[in-house]
Subunit: 640 residues, 2 copies
């Protein structure tokens, strides 16, 4: 097969490729990763490159404008190498792929909880033990001697479990340490397991990991199990993204012969990379980590464990397992102590996963008398309603629109993303802020919500989400994608191209917000309740630091209830993992939440479909549901 | 290094060797295994070869007669290759090494037990399950659906354990079998573990293994867990023998850098070879085996599990573990289902192992009111005394004399071994029977006991074990090993050499029997009891089919009590393993036995030393302890 060289600008990096190679893959092999939410299937339009010269065959894509095609823009996943090439990676591809996930502050657990009283009660312990040496008249076996001492300290109980690897080192450890040793223990239902033995006193470090295994990103906290505090944290994109952005694409990918194994290796690779970085920054060693808790949606947990998720996608949507027993990390290849166990927070159902159980645990709603509605908007949208007496849940396929997918210049909440927008009522000129104050590259979820709300309030948008054609300003123009509003001029952007909001973008957001709102109202109706009964409305999700509640209400994503009932929790999945790692009581609460939360399947519900269609307007077909928005509209503009 | 060829007669097999190679090792490499009880240290004198020609350097050995040395006899472990060689393996080396272990009849459990009522109650189960397929209104996870069904069948309980490998196949198995499957379960303290799932009905086979891991030999029963019957059985020498015959030699060998690993691999190799043969003969597959129970002395179990046994040998003689938790066979490399667990019967102490616990279980003495003394004479001698109220135990280093070691023509109970001897009172001519009616090769434990008793009763031996010099018959002669009695003339033997009993042999047996007797009497005295209090005397051990109780009493190995109190149990270790495999109730009894049996350390006991010295006579220094033997002596000969 013929070998070619691709020169990648602006770095002039040389990349080897064979004839017929898909450009996306050739670049990936060379370590150049482009965003590919659809997994390289040509449907998301994100892996944009500019072909400057050379030979290739690029299939047509509706995601590219005519003038872009004229400039040499191609989708790397639809481009086959046919000779030496010269290409350029445009900033929008570069920024979206290379940017770091934004982390919240570390003190989440201390800050945001409404959890009532709980104490640190970890399931692993490091115990310093001084044994009496054996004698002829006290010839107990090494393990029996140790067990007896642990019993006096309140550990052990009916059964002492112990792996062969511990037994194989025990006699030496006892004698090397002159009968003084550190025992790492784990509480089990019927006793304890000795995870490890080391000579001398090694109790000063006792660490755990909380891991949020998101479809888009993986977040890890390194936690001091003695104080409960976060020592270090880190986040990165889930490397599985190269196989598709949403869970459905990943499930399909897992069906290929090596797909499941690859997806598992990718996410474990991401986790190991994060662990390595965290430990390095904290100056700690992998040997100090004795336990890990993971929270993730049901598909992510299946993939992490190497369990085929295919039936999650097929009606009636059945996972292999919701409540996973603890797994030795060595079985997965986590680069921490081989003896450590991973606990996965239990799921409610195929589409309400352990990340939502973690979220409920974080909210404390399962212990409160007043009615709480909790939504987690990430790559998917999950909804939980209830109080201490009952909990119901549902999932609506909002899609990753709020994470930037399906939006022409959409991107994740990363440096260069427009994260908030205000439009001047008089001039219709936008003002925006960009994460890290950079020239803008694209727009993230909170920015899109703002832009849409502002366009609606200023009359740029009608109730159907159409850009009004009767307003003649330079920022509104017709294009092959329909009408669009120019948020930033090319001269002010990093991409040197206009950043716009198109009618197609707005339509996609409309459908996403409609699904979330319809999910909430369907669930309320199922319980014989209505929007006004909600006493507390908690929002979690990947919006980044920021979510403008008012604007989310204006577009009808959130219901029109008093603002003081809303609270934005950020990433409640990692917080729940942190809690479940620290407290066996809270872990049991999480198990109880997963068992007792009822799941409603919306995808086959006629009621949901009706609610959904009704919500595909700004803010909603039934304007009486949004009295405050309507009042604002009356103040600011002439309603149509 | 120079390469040479060794031609091995009579087969003329060619064996490659390098200059300086130890002949024993070169032969072993080529698959020619010689007996080497001492592990190739030059002390046992068993790895005899005849050098017919060529160059070598053979160190002197006191185990060879002058005329043998003249004939070219060498010990292979003391012979270094220095050129091409021609050697012959004499029959005594060949028979002892190649012979098969004799197996008892299969129906041991049914035959010989005094165990009271018990029912088959295995810890693994194969359950055929027909599930209702999931529906939208019944979206439980696969595992939850299965668990609910198992609960209705009385399985499961608080916790359902499940390995990742089962989870990884579950969804496919359920759907491949159209929601009909076979579940292999194991009872745990706090619930059950799903060991395996298979589509359809696979309940017709449910097999287990009982394994006796002896220092000398390994015995395996393949057991139908549905009926409790032995389907097939097999035995072979423990391949560790090449590293030394007794536990102490093995413990020393395990201290070398690769010794422990090698010993583990050797015994697992033996086990796998036996399993393969058994399955082949039974027409069964390894996939039908769901559970295994092993009984062995504490050192053998440590080596099987790869746990360093070194402190078993050093005062105060401490094992790493006595009561081993179940181990997945996959961790050890047993060639059966990876999901199967191995249960090792718990030990009482370093020198009273799980084989003895199995023996006690087999005797049922722990549930009876009358006083039982149980001895197991194998490579070592273990003694247990007690009843349903209390049990005490001890171990005496009898050494493997009764298995043929330390006896010039001694060998194990294998084809060609003289197994019983009668000496004519008048002619002093011996009559003997040989296992498998072959020309004799050597003499095994029961034959040695017979020969010694008969020599004593006919006046050939005095009370000190000396062959009387005043009897002038051709069968008594002086040799470089002292005086000896010729049991078989060269012309009648397979080895074409006289088979003799030497005074050194007798002295070794005297020390072995003295140790056993002294162990029994010391233990009785510790409990304030005497020989005559023994109501039942049970003997287990490697004597083969046959043990002449009367002769064992005559030489003072067994006490002089009414013969009807004795019973020979054969291999009680494998029988106990069989029982513990079949019944969880009996397993718990075994655990109770191990916990509640008191161990006396004899090796440091002055009382034992006194008893031992007193027992180094025929039948004993204190003749009043052996009134019946004395009466017989008075009838048959003039006592000296």
């Amino acid at each position: 097969m013929k070998q070619f060289t691709i020169t990648v600008y602006p770095e002039k990096k040389k990349v080897a490729a064979s004839e017929g190679d898909v450009l996306l893959h050739a670049l990936k092999e060379a370590g150049i990763r482009l965003p590919s939410p659809c997994g390289g299937q040509g449907t998301c339009g994100k892996c944009r490159v500019i072909v400057k010269g050379g030979r290739c065959h690029a299939s047509a894509s509706s995601h590219l404008r005519k003038e872009e095609i004229a400039q040499g823009y191609c989708l790397a996943c639809l481009t086959l190498v046919e000779g030496d090439m010269e290409i350029e990676i445009p900033p929008e591809s570069r920024a979206a792929a290379g940017a770091k996930i934004l982390l919240e502050e570390k003190s989440v657990v201390q800050d945001k909880l409404v959890l009532g009283k709980w104490e640190i009660e970890t399931r692993t312990h490091r115990v310093h033990v001084q044994l009496h040496p054996p004698r002829l008249d006290d010839p107990r076996s090494d393990i029996e001697r140790l067990r007896a001492d642990l019993l006096t300290k309140g550990f052990s109980g009916d059964r002492l479990h112990c792996s062969l690897s511990v037994l194989r080192k025990l006699s030496k450890v006892l004698r090397d340490g002159d009968w003084q040793l550190t025992v790492t223990l784990m509480d089990l239902m019927d006793g304890v397991e000795i995870l490890d033995v080391q000579p001398g006193d090694q109790t000063q470090y006792h660490l755990g990991l909380a891991i949020d295994v998101g479809t888009t990103s993986v977040v890890i906290y390194l936690i001091d199990l003695l104080t409960g505090l976060v020592i270090e944290s880190a986040a990165d994109y889930n490397a599985q993204i190269e196989c598709g952005e949403d869970v459905i694409t990943r499930i399909i990918y897992a069906r290929t012969s090596t797909g499941l194994k690859k997806l598992q290796q990718l996410v474990i690779g991401t986790i190991n990379k994060l662990i390595k970085g965290i430990l390095h920054r904290a100056g700690m060693s992998a040997e100090h980590i004795d336990c890990a808790v993971a929270a993730g949606n049901t598909t992510m947990i299946h993939l992490l464990l190497g369990i085929d998720p295919r039936y999650i996608r097929q009606e009636p949507y059945i996972p292999t397992i919701s409540s996973v027993p603890p797994v030795k990390v060595a079985e997965l290849g986590f680069e921490v102590n081989n003896h450590a166990y991973l606990y996965c927070l239990p799921a409610v159902a195929s589409y309400v996963g352990g990340d939502i159980t973690a979220g409920i645990l974080t909210t404390g709603m399962h212990k409160e008398n007043f009615l709480t509605l909790f939504i987690d908007i990430g790559t998917n949208g999950e909804i939980v309603l209830g109080n201490s007496d009952w909990l119901v849940s549902a999932s609506c396929s909002a899609g990753p629109a709020f994470e930037g997918a399906g939006v022409l210049h959409g991107m994740r909440a990363a440096p260069g993303a427009i994260e908030s927008v205000v439009i001047d009522q008089n001039t219709l000129e936008p003002h925006f802020s960009v994460i890290c104050n950079l020239p803008p590259v694209g727009i993230c979820g909170s920015g899109i919500i703002d832009a849409m709300a502002e366009m609606f309030l200023t009359g740029l948008l009608d109730r159907k989400g159409k850009i009004r054609g009767d307003i003649k300003i330079p920022r509104i123009r017709e294009s092959e994608f329909g009408r669009e509003y120019i948020l930033a001029w090319a001269k002010d952007t990093d991409t040197k191209k206009d950043i716009v909001i198109t009618e197609i973008d707005i339509n996609n957001i409309l459908r996403a917000k409609g699904a979330v709102y319809a999910g909430c109202s369907t669930l309320l109706k199922e319980m014989g309740l209505s929007i006004k009964d909600i006493e507390k409305f908690l929002i979690a999700g990947g919006f980044g630091h920021y979510l403008n509640i008012r604007n989310a209400v204006v577009i009808g994503l959130l219901p029109d209830i008093p603002y003081d009932r809303f609270r934005y929790l950020g990433n409640s999945s990692i917080t729940g993992g942190h809690l479940a790692l620290l407290s066996q009581k809270l872990w049991r609460e999480a198990e109880h939440i997963a068992r007792s939360t009822t799941y409603f399947e919306l995808s086959t519900s006629t009621a949901f479909m009706n609610e959904y269609v009704a919500a595909l307007f700004l803010p909603h077909t039934n304007t009486s549901l949004f009295p405050n928005v309507e009042a604002t509209l009356r103040e600011t503009m002439v309603t149509d």
